[in-house]
């Protein structure tokens, strides 16, 4: 590799640590797309270039075969057929010959590929329908070859070698969900914030992670030894002995499988947030009492059609059976324009977070999905001994709540008429909007429980986008305005005999446990990885002292005062 203009490797890169975990390992870069311009490639001898092209073609073939196999397994043979077509184009004698001619004329393999494919693409582009699609196929293969020629092998996220520290520009939720916590010692991304989805997944999976590390991260080469240092919120390059010892030092918080109570005997339920049943084992392993938030939208992502009633039924039964003594709180589908789901035709909106999403869609365009989800839930509640609770997201009005509850009644009647076994679960409402806070009394009168989603509540109360780092100081649950909204909701719930939980990131922040107990929350639900620390905290707390801390925090005029009160 030439040394021109190459940035030197940084000693460390700071970002935001999103789990309390650290890790040590070897850098592997994940570059799902993109390649340098083929014009910039410098050519070696024709023999060398031919060899490079042959190697890239072999790698492309391996990748395509793997992708075909996986698609056939997970999606279907029909969809996998596209990879067969790609393999045939890859081995096309005309293309291979054309590329060979360019290489013989002294061009770099990159430029040869770009030209030969470019000519073929141009031919197909002029034609109609199916032929134009072939141009897309050819573009895909060209880009794959160019990426492989630049050394960017696409790595299989499900099969990373042990001790991998994965670095990436960004990771999507589905990328992150593929990571194996046993193999991946940590990851770091250029983009992302504390409450971004990738951060939530990292906590669920218990993977050390630094997000929002910025462009400096790009200068850490493949194969470097690095540490993900949670304490200093940084990625340390070539860590010395001191750092190595520190980051590998025991993750030895004791896991408590039993329920915990405060010193003076107030029981607090500590549950885990999950997105898929794959996370259940982790939740049990960390000693969660149950599930406080099952984000069912992940059942609907990354597929060609929605999961049917039976598939959902199985999933909910699995979750309930995993916690025979505990409670499983399922949130009905919370989907909006920010999450692309091909089969739903979600509207393009200026402001998806203020748009047609959550319960609004369930009572509108997605009513059929809502119905099948409720049917699956009621059947699951009837089929197991576990305690199922179902809550509705983004409710802002009593009318919405009434309509949702009516739908539950209607589904129950249908099931009864059909003679299908079912039970009506506990029903609740998410408190995520200022409207829900103001109407909390009316909501609590009508349901069994409320659950505060602090990430969205902070976002909507403070009018600060949770994915926007520039306003991170605002979308913080320790803002007095958010704290007062929480208190108001707790009082409303208790006044009307409803229990109230919290399932946002604040619930899993061990520094906030005393405050939350003092505010009167009955249940805290969090990423599994923080369950042991929060359980340990609860056993140390006296609920009268905690109430005093909460009262004092509620008098604070600034976030700093809130933080100071908690830290005392």
């Amino acid at each position: 590799m030439t040394v021109d203009e190459t940035q030197s490797t940084p000693e460390s890169v700071s970002g935001v640590s999103v789990t309390p975990l650290s890790g040590l390992g070897t850098v592997r870069w994940y570059r799902p797309e993109g390649h340098p311009s083929p014009e910039d490639a410098s050519a070696g001898s024709p023999e060398e270039e031919q060899q490079r092209f042959d190697d890239a073609r072999q790698l492309a073939r391996d990748e395509l075969e793997r992708e075909r196999e996986r698609t056939a397994e997970r999606v279907g043979d029909e969809e996998a057929a596209v990879f067969d077509a790609h393999l045939k184009f890859l081995e096309d004698p005309q293309l291979i010959e054309g590329i060979g001619d360019e290489i013989d004329a002294g061009e770099a393999a990159e430029l040869a590929v770009d030209r030969a494919y470019g000519d073929a693409i141009e031919q197909f582009e002029g034609m109609d329908g199916l032929m134009a699609e072939r141009a897309d196929d050819l573009r895909d293969i060209r880009d794959r070859l160019l990426r492989l020629l630049s050394g960017g092998e696409r790595i299989d996220l499900t099969a990373l070698p042990e001790g991998t520290i994965l670095l990436a520009e960004r990771l999507t939720p589905s990328d992150t969900a593929q990571l194996d916590p046993e193999a991946v010692a940590g990851f770091a991304t250029v983009t992302g914030g504390r409450t971004s989805h990738v951060a939530i997944f990292a906590r669920s999976l218990g993977i050390p992670a630094i997000v929002g590390a910025g462009d400096d991260l790009l200068n850490i080469p493949e194969g470097t030894a690095v540490a993900v240092d949670a304490e200093n919120e940084s990625v340390v390059v070539d860590p010395d002995e001191e750092v190595r010892e520190r980051v590998t030092a025991g993750r030895d918080v004791t896991v408590r499988e039993e329920r915990v109570e405060t010193r003076d005997g107030k029981e607090i339920e500590v549950a885990a947030n999950i997105g898929t049943t794959a996370e259940i084992d982790g939740a049990i392993g960390q000693g969660a009492d149950g599930v406080g938030l099952f984000r069912t939208e992940f059942l609907f992502l990354d597929r060609e059609s929605p999961p049917d009633e039976d598939e959902q039924f199985e999933t909910y039964v699995d979750a309930l059976e995993a916690f025979p003594e505990g409670r499983v709180v399922v949130r009905t589908l919370d989907i909006g324009g920010d999450k692309p789901i091909p089969y739903l035709e979600l509207p393009e909106e200026e402001n998806p977070f203020l748009g047609d999403r959550g319960i609004r869609r369930s009572l509108g365009d997605d009513a059929h999905l809502f119905e099948s989800q409720l049917r699956a839930l009621l059947r699951a509640a009837g089929a197991t001994d576990g305690t199922l609770s179902v809550m509705f997201p983004l409710v802002a009005t009593v009318d919405e709540l009434t309509a949702a509850l009516d739908e539950v009644d209607r589904v129950a009647e249908d099931l009864a008429d059909e003679g299908t076994e079912y039970a009506v679960p506990e029903l609740g409402v998410m408190v995520e909007t200022p409207a829900a806070v103001m109407m909390a009394e009316e909501f609590a009168e009508r349901v069994d429980f409320l659950s505060i989603g602090t990430n969205d509540l902070a976002q909507y109360v403070m009018a600060a986008d949770r994915e926007n780092d520039a306003v991170a100081h605002l979308h913080n649950p320790q803002q007095p305005a958010v704290l007062r909204a929480i208190r108001r909701s707790v009082e409303a719930a208790h006044e009307h005999g409803a229990w109230i939980g919290m399932c946002g990131e604040m619930a899993g922040d061990p520094a906030s446990t005393e405050l939350l107990v003092g505010l009167g929350l009955d249940e805290l639900s969090m990423s599994a990885v923080t369950v042991p620390a929060v359980k340990a905290n609860i056993t140390e707390i006296d609920s009268t002292d905690a109430a005093a801390v909460a009262d004092q925090a509620l008098t604070a005029a600034t976030k700093q005062h809130v933080t100071d009160t908690i830290d005392q």
């Binding site: 067969d84 393999l87 045939k88 199916l130």
Partner: protein
């Protein structure tokens, strides 16, 4: 050399899976295999680019040729692919 004229049955024509199958078959014989619209020169059936570039649809008549030591087997194989409804179209197997 053997030549036959046949009518293309698979509903994708010479695209997607049928095209892949033709190319795969053509590559598995020593004989040189061509395919093309009836009455005109054929293209190399071993080239995905050439085969899909023909733009052949279902119901179109095509000439297929095979020339070489295993031409008989090659042309039979090709004819079968081009005259068999696609897997799943008629519910066979499963």
């Amino acid at each position: 050399m053997i030549e036959r004229t046949i009518t293309v049955v698979p509903e994708d024509g010479l695209h997607a899976r049928p095209a892949s199958q033709v190319v795969e078959a053509a590559n598995s014989y020593e004989s040189k295999v061509t395919v093309g619209p009836a009455g005109s020169d054929g293209v190399d059936a071993a080239s995905m680019l050439a085969v899909t570039g023909l733009g052949v649809g279902p119901g179109d008549e095509v000439d297929i040729t095979a020339d070489g030591p295993d031409e008989e087997a090659a042309i039979d194989d090709l004819e079968e692919i081009l005259t068999t409804p696609e897997h799943g179209d008629n519910g066979e197997e499963q």
